[in-house]
């Protein structure tokens, strides 16, 4: 099974380790991983800011890069969600491309979703970290239905306990450019999230999206919490945290 890894621009820039963790997991699940070198961004920032033309150009680029793969996997619910639920809208008035896009969408997955439902990963080795809580990132949860998959994977890790935080499904306040444009509101939402994480007493908050990760970690550190780790689920599962 040839899987194209869409690393996502934020992982590429901010936390490349997550990309390698994803490769490790996919290979452990028996996939042949292919990483197109010209990949950049899925176009989500442009799309959500109303710049349809730029979003479409980037979508077209991604389509060309990944079309040859059996599956496309991204370690991010919001980028996988962008492709799967919003690319068809971008090509709604271009029937020829739309058909290609729809074929790509049907084969595009968020990492956990793919590992559980397609690759059917069965076992994961023991990890050093013992107690975690899981934050449900909005797009993964509400666009792609990623809720039980990460928990199923975490449950395979021996000796790891997951304590659910209150309101795990509430947005952390990132929202792309929202975090910059509405800094105060965004910070308040992040602060609420940090409070919920702290209430669990977990060593780490684990999640599946870079935006939330930067936002939550940024707020935890500013609050003076230097201890609670903020980890991508791929890092926890691959043991590269």
């Amino acid at each position: 099974m040839r899987v194209g890894l869409f690393v996502t621009c934020l992982v590429d820039l901010m936390r490349p380790g997550i990309g390698f963790a994803a490769i490790k997991l996919l290979e452990a699940a028996g996939c042949e991983v292919f990483v197109p070198q010209s990949q950049t961004c899925c176009g989500q920032p442009a799309y959500n800011s109303g710049d349809r033309a730029s979003a479409q150009a980037l979508a077209r680029k991604l389509l060309g890069e990944f079309e040859a793969c059996d599956h496309v996997v991204a370690p991010s619910g919001s980028c996988a969600g962008m492709i799967r639920t919003h690319y068809p809208d971008l090509f709604a008035d271009q029937p020829a491309e739309l058909e290609r896009v729809q074929r790509l969408c049907a084969r595009t997955y968020e990492l956990c979703d793919f590992l559980v439902n397609v690759a059917q990963l069965k076992s994961i080795k023991e990890k050093s970290i013992k107690t975690i809580t899981y934050h449900d990132s909005c797009c993964g949860l509400r666009e792609l239905g990623v809720k039980s998959q990460p928990r199923a994977l975490l449950a395979m890790v021996q000796g790891l306990s997951v304590t659910e935080m209150p309101e795990a499904e509430v947005c952390c306040g990132f929202g792309g450019t929202f975090a910059v444009k509405f800094g105060e509101i965004s910070t308040r939402l992040a602060d609420n999230k940090c409070g919920a994480i702290a209430a669990t007493g977990a060593e780490a908050v684990v999640l599946g999206d870079l935006g939330c990760m930067l936002n939550i970690e940024g707020r935890l550190r500013r609050r003076g919490d230097m201890k609670t780790q903020v980890l991508h689920i791929a890092e926890v599962l691959a043991g590269t945290e």
Binding site: T40, G173, G176
Partner: protein
């Protein structure tokens, strides 16, 4: 209503710092969010009902003119008079003319957000008519000279203590603190108004084409008094509220109270059909129904039409993390929260509410709770696109995005720029690997650090790994 949505950001900042407001807003969570979650569990085929509700609204909107004409025919047959108002000003003018015609000195009102759209109270008062709001929340706001901050619970921003103080000051009676005592006091104040009013003004949650009836859902019973006691009843609502049949309404009513107030059904569901007939014990002698366009027909056939399905339940704002933290007044017009972030720019002008479509993380919590399946985040994004097309976006954002989009289409250049970028950021992060002050970061750094990157991009490292792999393999061979 005067629009102040351009000040969203500044207002929101103040609201975040308002401790009393923050405490008051927490009620939403416990009452409405939990209430809805519990009540929809009572329906074993909830998603089917939701799909049916959306379909009913779509069916009404698809032939809006047909249903409206049928409504007019049936309402007229029962003795009501239907007026068509293209603008809110026209609606106000019609009500004022009716007040003059029937020699009205006092009007009692039940809750109507459409009348807020029109700023009807101001118009009537200018015409010399005393207006008394009789919905408890609206009554409190009228005493306090404040605007509603929620479409279902207009006074959600106030604490009980504040209401106690307000009643003591305005009613000049000993201060009460218990909710039943406060309610009783308001009742006693309102009773003489009901009895002496010449005109009752209500809104309508739905208007029903096949019977020509208007329908309101309330909990306090004031709606019944307003629609039956005074000589003249004026119902004022938007043209999109029409539904074809009573059967349709029953489906919508299974969802509206559950999503609005977390109730299986409201205390009252009142249908008003025609004027007082021979032998009827009560009812108005004159019944006028004012149907307002004020921007609605513009949406028919447009990419925003789905917004007209809205049944004004308020669930989208109750569940919105932004609304939950800034409250309704920050939004600056009649309708707050996600639905308001769409309706305000549409009805009051895109350029008058630039922040609103952007003041959302697009987390889609609103979209998943909306009982008539309005894709609210998609509609906000469409408004962002319209802002972009019309050049209404601030230049740093346009410039930044254009640069990003341009570079991201050129992989080689992008790789070079990103390699430099991450090195710079890593250097800025220092030993603690945290950037405290991000240049060009706008609002990011006020309350957050930026975790610094590792210093090399994934693609760089990946190439290195591949190279090492290759060398290892050649050595093994």
């Amino acid at each position: 209503m005067q629009i102040t949505s351009m000040h969203f950001k500044a207002r929101a900042g103040k609201k975040l710092a308002d401790v009393k407001l923050q405490a008051a807003l927490r009620k939403l969570q416990s009452n409405f969010v939990k209430g809805r979650a519990d009540r929809i569990l009572e329906l074993d085929n909830f998603e089917d009902i939701r799909a049916a509700a959306a379909a009913i609204r779509d069916r009404a909107l698809a032939s809006l003119d047909v249903w409206l004409e049928e409504f007019e025919r049936n309402a007229t047959a029962r003795g009501a008079v239907v007026h068509w108002a293209e603008t809110t000003e026209e609606a106000n003018r019609i009500v004022c003319e009716l007040a003059a015609k029937y020699d009205v000195r006092k009007a009692v009102k039940s809750k109507s957000m459409v009348s807020e759209e029109c700023a009807l109270n101001d118009a009537l008062e200018a015409a010399g008519v005393e207006v008394v709001e009789t919905d408890l929340g609206e009554y409190i706001l009228q005493l306090a000279h404040e605007a509603p901050s929620h479409i279902v619970a207009p006074v959600v921003h106030k604490s009980r203590d504040e209401v106690s103080d307000l009643f003591e000051e305005k009613h000049k009676l000993p201060r009460k603190t218990g909710i039943p005592d406060l309610c009783r006091e308001a009742r006693e104040m309102l009773r003489p108004h009901f009895l002496s009013a010449d005109m009752g003004i209500s809104g309508a949650n739905f208007i029903i084409a096949e019977t020509g009836s208007t329908l309101i859902v309330t909990n306090e019973g004031n709606g019944r008094m307003v629609t039956t006691l005074p000589r003249v009843h004026v119902a004022i609502t938007g043209i999109e509220k029409v539904v074809p049949t009573l059967e349709d309404v029953t489906t919508l009513l299974r969802l509206l109270p559950r999503h609005g107030t977390g109730q299986s059904i409201t205390n009252y569901v009142s249908l008003t059909t025609g004027v007082k007939g021979d032998g009827d014990l009560d009812g108005p002698q004159h019944f006028h129904i004012i149907l307002i366009d004020a921007g609605r027909t513009k949406l028919i056939g447009s990419d925003m039409q789905a917004m007209l399905r809205c049944i004004r339940c308020g669930a989208c704002m109750n569940h919105c993390p932004v609304y939950q933290n800034v409250g309704g007044h920050a939004y600056g017009w009649v309708y707050p929260g996600p639905m308001g972030s769409i309706l305000t720019p549409i009805y009051a002008g895109l350029e008058n509410a630039l922040d609103l479509p952007n003041a959302s993380t697009l987390c889609n919590q609103c979209g998943v709770v909306c009982p008539v399946k309005i894709p609210l985040p998609d509609l906000m994004r469409k408004l962002r696109e319209k802002q972009f097309e019309r050049g209404l976006k601030p230049w740093p954002e346009r410039f930044g995005l254009a640069l990003w989009g341009w570079a991201a289409r050129r992989p080689v250049l992008y790789a070079a720029l990103s390699m430099m970028g991450v090195r710079l950021l890593a250097w800025m992060g220092g030993a603690a690997k945290l950037i405290h002050n991000l240049p060009f970061g706008g609002g990011w750094s006020g309350g957050r650090d930026l975790p610094a990157p590792q210093g090399k991009t994934f693609r760089e490292l990946y190439r290195q790994h591949k190279r090492i792999d290759r060398i290892n393999r050649t050595q093994q061979d």
